[in-house]
Amino acid sequence: MTPDQSLGQTSGQTPETTTEMTYGDAARLALAEEMRRDARVWALGEDVGRGGVFGQYAGLQAEFGAERIADSPISEAAIMGVAVGAAMAGTRPVAEMRISDFALCAVDELVNQAAKARFMLGGQVRVPLVVRQPMGIWPALAAQHSQSLEAWYTHVPGLVVVAPATPADNRGLLKSAIRSDDPVVYMEHKDLWKDTGPVPDGDDVLVPLGKARLARPGDDVTVVTWSGMVRTCVQAADDLAGQRVSAEVIDLRTLWPWDQDAVLASVEKTGRLLVAHEAVLASGFGAEVAATVSERLFGRLKAPVRRLGGPRMPIPYSPPLEAQARRTAADVARAVRGLMQ
């Protein structure tokens, strides 16, 4: 895998050095840094005091106290709704949903309230709120703990949607999300918590919202992806390199606003696009990317824009069934080869 190259810039200090850490630790560091920097930042959710279900809050209550790393009742609607009110009233809450599926208990609070309050009130209030929703398939968690609904949130005016794929991005984007004055749906992938990678040193290295990342350069075909599928697509691209297919992998990182310029520039170069995601294919965010590129680059494409996504089925429990819901590097490679014919 080639080193990360950024299509977007990072802001703040220019990092000279990096430290290897996990995706989970990178997020923990980001939250701690932002809490040190800004006394208005706090987090709330179930079991965060003991470190959160994935350890992503480990040690934070010891440093910041139980008021700023606030354990909550099992009340997702309240976690979200309270965060909305607390954001309106001068703080910057990070609301932890534990598993993105549980956020479905709090959709009114997110979609009808958080996303619209600023607008409905004509700008009299702001809702600087980050909603963390760990997403995606984790082995054998079955249908109520595995969904990827990022497309939903891209469809909701007022929301920013972020889905980081690397430790560096999970640090830099979580920091940007916390500094955003608008509500951000921040979707970490459950299967990435333990992934490691280099993270730029310095406590003020942000990754800007809305900028894609060039995960792997290439010339023949563009693969646009995000979240857990990024490493899958990079793997596929590596495999394809041995078959003389040079695939460029773009990690969108932010799904709304998404980096159309970066995607269009790449596809203009390659003439071919595959959009790959773990979420259900039908009405997934890949449809938005595919529809946009097909329209904007009409007549300049060498092949139809292809999409790869999950079958429209709940995530099954048993390994051989669950495998049917996953999209693998082999699936990506096959789809790319299909584009090259």
């Binding site: 309240a78 009110g85 309230q113 009130l121 700008g123 920013v160 955003s180």
Partner: protein, 336 residues
């Protein structure tokens, strides 16, 4: 639940009561003007009139400062006025004008005036309970010396946020006054038929929130009860619930004839009109009919002027539709 002693026994502060009378009259006049505007077609949206419930907003808000926050419902004009918003800015909002409090983006169901701490009506029953709770948590966390008040209807106690919000407020001992306005109806259905158990106060107490019930048509009783509850909250005692029994004298919305209510019931309840009752109290305290009528006239004049102002106010620029959505990734107006 402690039954609350009516205010009548206390020493009467006539000036205070008269200000409340005037505020109630202003709300009544506003709602009548809004209903007329709907009939006239200058207001297109749905209006949920607060007619008959004025004593609650006024009695509670008499105990709030401008810094205190308020979260309201779909039936929010009364709360907004009582919290100190200007009728002109509100009327402009109802008429969708550029100088409406929300720039015309919200209308009646999202009316708000952050400059007086009024953070929003809400189109979703019960949603404000959680938002109010969160605002109270922010206040506590920031060590501020203010409280939140949160109004909701008897129908809202059948939604999950009532449980989640009151439990949360009690667990974190937050400075929030919940006010349940029991006007007997959930839209066109009687709440009673859809609500099991002894009622909102018992529910609140089961969630660790002490509750007091008052006659919500008696502004003095509301004022007195609210004063005690607000004092307890300001003293760090955590959340409280005030249950105010009242009656929705109008339809659910202005265009609802509310024919599902028996005539005699409506007549009886009109006889209990909180404004008339307040006038009686003031009359007993020595004010003459002319003064009282003068207050009503003043209220009506103020609102009439607000309505005229609103009608003469400009429409928002269509480009305004594209602002206040979000900083990154907001919509862009297409060229026609």
């Amino acid at each position: 639940m402690e039954p609350h002693a009516g205010g009548a026994q206390r020493n009467l502060d006539v000036e205070r009561l008269r200000r409340q009378y005037l505020d109630m009259a202003r709300i009544r006049a506003f709602e009548e003007a809004a209903a007329a505007a709907v009939a006239e077609g200058t207001v297109l949206g749905l209006i949920h009139p607060y007619i008959g419930q004025e004593a609650i907003a006024v009695g509670v808000c008499a105990n709030l400062t401008r810094d205190d926050l308020l979260l309201s419902t779909h039936r929010g004009h009364g709360h907004t006025l009582a919290k100190g918003a200007s009728p002109a800015g509100m009327m402009c909002e109802l008429l969708g004008r550029a100088n409406g409090v929300c720039g015309g983006k919200g209308g009646s169901m999202h009316i708000a005036d952050a400059s007086v701490g009024m953070l929003g009506a809400n189109g979703v029953v019960g949603a404000n309970i959680l938002i109010a709770t969160g605002a109270a948590q922010a206040i506590k966390m920031q060590g501020q010396d203010r409280i939140v008040s949160c109004f909701f209807g008897d129908g809202a106690v059948n939604r999950g946020p009532f449980l989640e919000g009151l439990n949360w407020a009690a667990v974190f001992r937050l400075p929030v006054l919940f006010v349940c306005e029991d006007n007997a109806f959930s839209a066109t259905t009687r709440t009673e038929a859809m609500t099991a158990g002894p009622g909102p106060a018992a529910r609140a107490e089961s969630l660790g929130v002490p509750a007091v019930a008052v006659d919500g048509n008696d502004v003095l009783a509301v004022d007195t009860a609210a004063r005690d509850l607000v004092a307890a909250i300001r003293a760090g005692g955590g959340p409280r619930l005030l249950v105010a029994r009242t009656y929705r004298l109008s339809g659910h919305v202005t265009i609802d004839p509310a024919a599902y209510r028996p005539d005699h019931e409506v007549q009886e309840r009109w006889a209990d009109d909180p404004i008339v009752r307040c006038a009686d109290l003031l009359r007993q305290a020595g004010l003459d009919d002319g003064t009282l009528a003068g207050d009503l006239d003043a209220a009506r004049d103020e609102i009439a002027a607000a309505y005229r102002f609103a009608k003469d106010s400009p429409w928002p620029d269509p480009r305004e539709a594209f602002t206040d959505v979000q900083d990154a990734g907001g919509p862009v107006m297409e060229e026609a």
